[in-house]
């Protein structure tokens, strides 16, 4: 997206006046739509549409063996795929840089055991554990990718059902497990602590959340904070530009309050979803 000087000045002034180009205030989000359980061949999935940003997340499970250093922990892996549907720049391997950046940020945010308890994914210490593949597909980019991705990931993990392991038999080096045959005999994951990421963007002298693509272009520096309950689990400065330590602290505070607000809204929304609603998907 190319912006001319006049457009940039307009955005700058709108942020200054606390009346942004789409009518929002500095701490406001654009409208969101969330739907869970929309990809059939996975254990849990969610699609989040934040105005123009569209993210599809699917969770798949596999049985793996834990690492030697952490024999009691299960595994979680994030994979981001930037679809060329979003922008032609992502064609071929064009989206790889952005994809790695987002997936690295996610894995560091989920690394802490208070944020996400990987111990629950362990089946038998040292030999068997669940591996969660969290696959994120970016379908449309309308700014503020990190926030949308983290919300969708949390919703997909909420939706995930892990099959119940009935018994584990150890015979020498061989481990046999029996997974329950019942389709609905599953456990849900505990995701209350799963981090929510908020991008705080500095435009002019003010900090805003949920920037649109145009606002991202005018930003003089931005910082992504991942907040789990009330603690930070990751802080990452993205894009170009530099921030003064005072501004940085201020933006962290803003990020924290916004993330907590967002988190409680998300949990409330997820609780409202009932299992037998009809699928809408992309047909709406």
């Amino acid at each position: 997206m190319a912006l001319c000087e006049a457009e940039k000045t307009f955005i700058l002034h709108s942020v200054e006046e606390n009346f942004r180009i789409d009518g929002r205030q500095r701490g406001d989000y654009r409208p969101m739509e969330l739907e869970t359980n929309i990809v059939a061949p996975s254990f849990g999935s969610a699609r989040l549409r934040l105005a123009n940003t569209d993210v599809l997340v699917s969770v798949k499970l596999e049985i793996d063996s834990p690492t030697l250093e952490q024999p009691k922990l299960g595994k979680i892996e994030f994979f981001v795929d930037c679809s060329a549907n979003a922008t032609p720049d992502f064609e071929g391997r064009g989206g790889d840089n952005l994809a790695t950046e987002i997936s690295n940020c996610l894995s560091s945010a989920y690394k802490s055991s208070t944020a996400f308890d990987a111990g629950k994914l362990c089946i038998l210490k040292g030999s068997k554990c669940w591996k969660l593949y969290v696959d994120i597909l970016l379908l449309e980019c309308g700014g503020n990718l990190y926030d949308a991705v983290s919300l969708a990931v949390k919703a997909a993990l909420w939706d995930t059902r892990i099959p119940l392991v009935k018994s584990v038999v150890v015979d020498g080096n061989k481990v046999d497990m029996e997974v329950s045959d019942e389709l609905f005999d599953c456990e849900r994951l505990d995701v209350t602590g799963a981090p929510i990421m908020v991008t705080v963007c500095k435009i002019g002298d003010q900090c805003i959340v949920d920037p649109t693509t145009a606002e991202e272009h005018c930003s003089g520096g931005s910082v992504v904070v991942a907040v789990s309950k009330s603690n930070f689990s990751t802080i990452l400065q993205t894009g170009g530009g530099s921030l003064h330590p005072m501004t940085l602290l201020e933006s962290l505070k803003l990020g924290q309050t916004v993330a907590q607000r967002l988190d409680s809204t998300l949990i409330n929304t997820l609780k409202q979803i009932n299992d037998n609603s009809t699928d809408v998907g992309f047909l709406k």
Binding site: V39, A40, P41, S42, S45, N52, D54, L56, S58, K60, E62, F79, D81, S83, A84, N85, A86, T87, P88, E91, G92, R93, Y133, D135, L137, L139, E140, C141, G142, G281, F282, L283, K284
Partner: protein
């Protein structure tokens, strides 16, 4: 026939309860996204595909590729890693996806009026969200809808459909993943259904040449059926868009 499971039962029903000449449920929507010039979503049974079209625009990257008498058509096929029951390692770049891209381009090139846009490029991207048999046909149909949504002139609809031969005798249309797995040949054709021209034909495995005409006729019939569904979707979409701009107020709607 004793060992192999019969694909069509004695009373003429297939494994998923369809008859031999029935398509799976097709649901589609145009204009799913706002950023691409054209986009569409299609569901054929459980197979779900998203398509986006960008262009015609200036040739990106290597300018020397630009042609003085026609537009370049660029296709990319990609499959979400979670689209199959077993997780895929990569969404694109493997041999199967490059083959799909080439076939897709071939089918669409036959219908797009490329000569109208010299020195330009049209990008078509398809993303498979759930693969349950008949991925290629769904991609072609989705791409057609996206092209129409983008307002790119086409000679006519391009529709694709698969067909197979059950019990060595009965031709059946629109093959699901389950039927693909149980064996039997699969014939996939992409066609211009109004003029009945075939733009791409691909067959896997073998059957006797005597069976070919009837299987092909069945697949072509499938293409025509799909065309009717797509046409309906396009008309209702245009009506919706038109209504919101207020054209329905100015003149009486005429049903053709």
């Amino acid at each position: 026939m004793s060992k192999k499971k019969e694909l069509v039962s004695k009373i003429g029903l297939r494994l998923d309860g369809r008859r031999a000449d029935e398509l799976r449920r097709v649901r589609c929507k145009m204009g799913v996204f706002s950023q691409p010039d054209g986009s569409a979503y299609i569901e054929q049974g459980l197979t779900k595909v998203l398509a986006a079209v960008y262009g015609p625009h200036q040739v990106r990257g290597n300018r020397s590729k630009a042609q003085h008498d026609s537009a370049i058509v660029n296709c990319q096929f990609s499959m979400a890693v979670f689209s199959t029951s077993e997780r895929k390692k990569r969404p694109r770049g493997d041999r199967k996806s490059s083959e799909m891209s080439i076939h897709l381009r071939q089918a669409l090139l036959a219908a797009i009026k490329v000569e109208l846009y010299p020195w330009s490029q049209i990008d078509i991207y398809v993303e498979v969200l759930h693969a349950d048999g008949g991925v290629y046909p769904a991609c072609v149909n989705a791409a057609t809808l996206a092209l129409i949504d983008a307002g790119i002139p086409l000679k006519e609809y391009v529709c694709a459909c698969s067909a197979s031969l059950a019990n060595n005798d009965i031709p059946m249309v629109d093959i699901s993943h389950q039927e693909e797995m149980l064996g039997g040949p699969t014939l996939t054709i992409a066609a211009l259904p109004m003029s009945e021209k075939i733009v791409l034909m691909e067959m896997s495995q073998r059957f006797h040449i005597d069976h070919l005409p009837k299987v092909m006729a069945k697949a072509l019939k499938g293409c025509k059926d799909i065309k009717v569904i797509l046409d309906e979707a396009v008309r209702s979409h245009v009506e919706d868009v038109g209504c919101s701009t207020g054209w329905s107020n100015t003149s009486q709607k005429i049903k053709v």
